[in-house]
């Protein structure tokens, strides 16, 4: 710890400084987006098994009512995002580009849209196991983008202990201000959520890490914290990809998650601030997750902002409400460094969508760039936060030596943050090479397994 503080203190050493583009929405308060004429609620909005519908076509549902149940432990239920009628249960376009089963819900324009709560519950008197079960019932998943079911992270394997809960308020992706606004406007809920997970997981202390381009959020959290000492708020110098949990753990605690392991291997649990704000709000009144804050922004929009958006809202409706003013060139779900481009404007907002960034045809990022050979300048090596060698990995990928990439050059540790592609002066799409390479390795292993079984 001492040495680390001497050399630059709490800062991310690798990574890149990207233009943050957060001025468009950083100071705008959260506003509610009107209901779309049709909400499309996919059954798989989370990592794990898709939920099982418990409604039939034509059924009338009340906002907040469960409409699909969890399929096993690594799965969560879905709740009706609006009062209305189930139109049909059918495939719908998903962010991945394919079709996935979804529940089509038509909100009633004249309904009061009051939310159906369960019986209030007192967290103080609940055991960790009860809390974990209650968290699953809310349908809350990681709202930072990964959409991993939160209750699964709370359930530790036998004999494992977590001493620290890290609350991730870095939001290092350009354009996004979702977490920022949540921290500024709902600091009490964030703290409440943090204490709930600390109790469930058995951690004695919590640390909220916020990048120093959001000092108003730091102030709001510290004010809400008052004299309490169980949770600390730390401002860290802004740099991408600090919001990646592995990075934040090293910056704040000086610990490293072992390759291929989980934060709980080293006694840490990491939760996103928006996730905790939702937990802090929903859990006491036994309500399900039906909406989330989404930063709808980008140079193509006239009214960018932070919108409280009903789950299942199609992108087309969201963009219209935010004042889409020109021909769209591309629409990104999440931030521009890691977010996928949407293949269709019918794709709905799901639990893991942190932002929608729209670029018009006239925006610079529409131009194709010429790809040069790797000149081994080493910029990617200096940028990779995991200390991988993207230059070598890229060369191997071109030669289709996928297996060597995995065994000798740690391909599977790459979490596709995009730093290497970002800095590459030859415009080599390194991250895309790595995605393809990982897929090739998965397919090869599947073939080998099939061969062994035959």
């Amino acid at each position: 710890m001492g040495l680390r503080d001497l050399f630059g203190g709490k800062a991310l050493r690798r990574g890149v400084h990207v233009p943050d583009c957060k001025d468009l929405t950083g100071r705008l308060p959260i506003r509610r987006l009107p209901f779309a004429p049709m909400l499309v609620v996919p059954l798989s909005q989370h990592a794990g098994a898709p939920a099982i519908p418990i409604v039939r076509e034509g059924q009338e549902v009340v906002r907040g009512e469960p409409i699909a149940k969890a399929n096993g432990f690594v799965s969560v239920p879905m709740h009706a995002p609006a009062t209305g009628q189930i139109e049909r249960i059918a495939p719908a376009p998903s962010a991945k580009g394919d079709l996935a089963p979804a529940i089509y819900l038509k909100p009633w324009p004249s309904a009061s849209q009051e939310i159906l709560y369960g019986a209030p519950q007192d967290i103080e008197r609940m055991s960790p196991a009860e809390i974990i079960a209650a968290v699953q019932e809310t349908g809350v998943v990681g709202l930072g983008g990964a959409a991993f079911p939160t209750h699964v992270k709370l359930k530790l394997p036998e004999g494992r202990k977590v001493d620290t809960v890290l609350v991730n308020g870095c939001e290092c992706e350009p354009y996004l201000t979702t977490d920022h606004r949540v921290m500024v406007e709902q600091p009490k809920e964030v703290l409440h959520g943090a204490r709930i997970v600390m109790k469930a997981i058995g951690a004695g202390r919590g640390i909220i890490g916020v990048e120093d381009n959001k000092m108003d959020a730091v102030e709001a959290l510290r004010t809400a914290l008052g004299a309490a000492t169980d949770i600390a708020v730390e401002a860290v110098p802004a740099k991408y990809p600090q919001g990646a949990e592995k990075m934040l753990i090293r910056v704040l605690l000086g610990r490293e998650v072992p390759s291929g392991g989980l934060p709980s291997d080293i006694g840490v649990g990491v939760f996103n601030v928006a996730t905790l704000a939702q937990l802090g709000e929903l859990l006491p009144r036994r309500q399900g997750l039906i909406e989330r804050v989404v930063t709808i922004t980008g140079p193509a929009l006239a009214k960018p902002g932070n919108y409280l958006t009903a789950l299942g809202t199609p992108l087309r409706w969201a963009l219209e409400q935010a004042g889409c003013k020109e021909d769209l060139a591309s629409v990104i779900l999440g931030g521009p460094m890691m977010g996928p481009a949407a293949g269709s404007l019918e794709v709905p907002v799901t639990k893991g969508v942190t932002g929608i960034v729209a670029f018009g045809r006239h925006d610079v990022n529409g131009r194709p760039r010429r790809i040069y050979p790797c000149i081994r300048c080493g910029a990617c090596v200096d940028a990779c936060p995991l200390h991988l060698n993207p230059s070598r990995l890229g060369t191997l990928a071109r030669k289709e030596r996928y297996e060597e990439m995995e065994t000798d050059f740690h391909l599977n540790d790459c979490f596709e943050c995009g730093c290497c592609s970002y800095v590459c002066p030859s415009n080599i799409p390194l991250v895309q090479y790595f995605r393809v390479s990982k897929q090739m390795n998965r397919e090869r292993k599947a073939r080998e397994r099939a061969g062994a079984n035959a």
Partner: protein, 354 residues
């Protein structure tokens, strides 16, 4: 209000959707900018012969790259400026009166053999300019060690006689011509030659300013440092490589000097004489032929500094920078392999295995 884009028209691209404004041609263009003051200084020092040599080097390299691309049926890669760099560097490392036809042959070898044969930009194992120079040193050992004095009279109106030698003929003797044009206090022997053969150590200040004999572009250590600093400040060059090479040369030179002060010059002379500064700043830093790992670049630089001094002090040649860098290039892939950084979260088990 309408959202006009019909679904099939939005672009499907993969993340990251942001990119820096830096490109290969931008890096290369800036290296050319950084070389221009050095070229100008060499023309001021040695006159139109140096200018002709620079032009011949650049033209032959660019032409070779163009022809090689055409022959390979690939789009011409001349626009990335890397061939211009090779040509200028080649000419800067040659004596100012080097016959132009030999310079052109060097350019063809540098780009043809040193770069295009390996697959073009990004695939060369050695610094192309030095491949060309190594060939010239082997093919024309006399011409490449025939130096002329700086600041000669008439240098802006009269070529050094050797410059205009007809192809495949022997350059003329220069001793008489040198006597005629030489200005007092300007010798045609380079500081390294005087050190090696006469044990006369040139003062550091003239070496730093560069009004001495030598290869066309290597004489002013100060100017080269300044131009290199430009690239370093703009982050177009890895500062660690020159830092490692120069400090290693300095330290090894100091060790020799302390052991036998009468025989070996002081380490500052080592640092500022000959082609060390030009080599460390502009040739050892060739991105393609140097390692990429953080530890690797230090080892690579230190190795080249060591070899340079060892050749100068213990070898038969007065200068060793060229061979030092070529050797460094040769072991660079191995250095890379041996210095793969410890990755985030590497497991102990793996370390034990490695």
């Amino acid at each position: 209000m309408n959202v006009p884009a019909p679904t099939p028209e939005i672009q499907l691209r993969t993340s990251p959707h942001f990119h820096t404004s830096r490109s290969v041609s931008m890096i290369m263009r800036n290296v050319v900018y950084a070389l221009l003051p050095i070229c100008a200084f060499s023309v001021w020092l040695f006159g139109i012969s140096a200018l002709a040599s620079l032009a011949a080097g650049a033209a032959s390299c660019v032409l070779t790259e163009y022809v090689a691309c055409r022959m390979a049926g690939r789009p011409a890669s001349v626009g990335d400026f890397s061939a211009v760099i090779t040509g200028l560097l080649l000419a800067l490392t040659l004596p100012p009166g080097f016959p132009l036809w030999m310079t052109a042959v060097g350019g063809v070898i540098a780009v043809g053999l040193g770069k295009m044969l390996f697959g073009g930009l990004g695939f060369n194992v050695f610094n192309p300019a030095l491949v060309g120079r190594a060939f010239l040193q082997a093919a024309f050992p006399i011409a490449i060690t025939t130096y002329t004095p700086a600041m000669a009279v008439n240098r802006f109106v009269e070529f050094i006689p050797a410059t205009l030698t007809l192809p495949f003929t022997r350059p003329p003797e220069l001793a008489e011509w040198i006597q005629r044009v030489r200005v007092d206090a300007f010798s045609s022997a380079t500081p390294l030659m005087m050190q090696k053969f006469d044990h006369v150590t040139t003062e550091v200040l003239p070496l730093f300013l560069g009004k001495v004999a030598g290869s066309a572009g290597e004489t002013s250590a100060g100017l080269i440092l300044l131009c290199g600093a430009y690239l370093i400040v703009r982050k177009f060059m890895d500062w660690r490589i020159p830092a490692a090479m120069l400090s290693s040369a300095f330290l090894v030179g100091a060790a020799f000097h302390l052991a036998a002060p009468a025989q070996y010059p002081n380490p500052l002379f080592v640092l500022f004489s000959g082609g060390l500064m030009l080599g460390a700043m502009f040739m050892a830093t060739d991105m393609v032929a140097s390692p990429v790992t953080p530890l690797g670049v230090w080892i690579y630089g230190a190795l080249m500094g060591l070899i340079t001094v060892v050749i100068r002090f213990l070898g038969g040649l007065p200068e060793g920078v060229m061979y030092a860098i070529l050797l460094g290039n040769a072991v660079s892939p191995m250095i890379d392999n041996l210095t793969q950084p410890r990755i985030y979260g590497a497991r102990k088990k793996e370390k034990a295995k490695a």
